[in-house]
């Protein structure tokens, strides 16, 4: 169990993010929950590719022979950029909702109430 701590951290962070999205009523806090889930996904990808005693996959004056898997790191970079784009777009929508309704609480916005 003690060697599984990074995976437990992934579960914890993802749970915090899902609970934030489902339980909070503020749009900004919901976007923050989405960003937390992105962080959990990045940590999960990097953790999947780690090899015991491996070095970063760069050959410029490399100190060792064993290397960490490179493909998951490339996918992590893709995930970071796409997460940035998604967060920026959602924040722009939140600003537009605030301009129209005067609030970002979903209880006060008539159309978004169930």
């Amino acid at each position: 169990m003690i060697e599984q701590i990074p995976y437990l951290a992934v579960i914890l962070i993802a749970g915090i993010g899902i609970a934030t999205i489902l339980l909070k009523k503020n749009l900004i806090k919901m976007i923050m929950g989405l960003a937390i889930i992105e962080g959990a996904a990045n940590l999960f990808l990097v953790t999947l590719g780690y090899r015991e005693g491996g070095i970063a996959p760069i050959f410029t004056s490399a100190p060792g022979k064993e290397m960490v898997l490179p493909t998951v790191q490339a996918m992590t970079l893709t995930n970071i950029v796409i997460g940035f784009a998604t967060t920026a777009l959602l924040l722009a929508f939140a600003i537009m909702i605030y301009r129209k309704y005067g609030s970002v609480e979903t209880n006060n916005i008539r159309r978004l109430r169930e």
Binding site: E3, Q4, I5, P6, Y7, V10, I11, A14, G15, I18, A19, L22, L23, T47, L48, G49, Y50, R51, E52, P57, I58, F59, T60, M67, L69, P70, T71, Q73, A74, M75, L77, T78, V81, I82, F84, A85, T86, A88, L89, A92, F93, I95, M96, E114
Partner: protein, 88 residues
Amino acid sequence: MRRNLSIIITILMVGMLGVIVTGLTFGDPGEHPMDRYFIENSQIESGANNVVAAVLFDYRGFDTLGEAAVLFTAALGVSLVLRKRRDD
């Protein structure tokens, strides 16, 4: 009512993640032929010392093209949504 449903959904999703994760061991990803091929051949085929850059721009170039297109579209959408209006 809705709050209880949210808590149940959270617990279910976390449990599913836990079931997936328990089969994995940290520090030993096993044998991956694709990654071994990238590490052994990226210097000879693409000439880059950084294997991640070789994967990103050479082997999986379409991925990076889509990524750049997503970033471009997001900037376009943000500047379209928050453009200056005449009336306010």
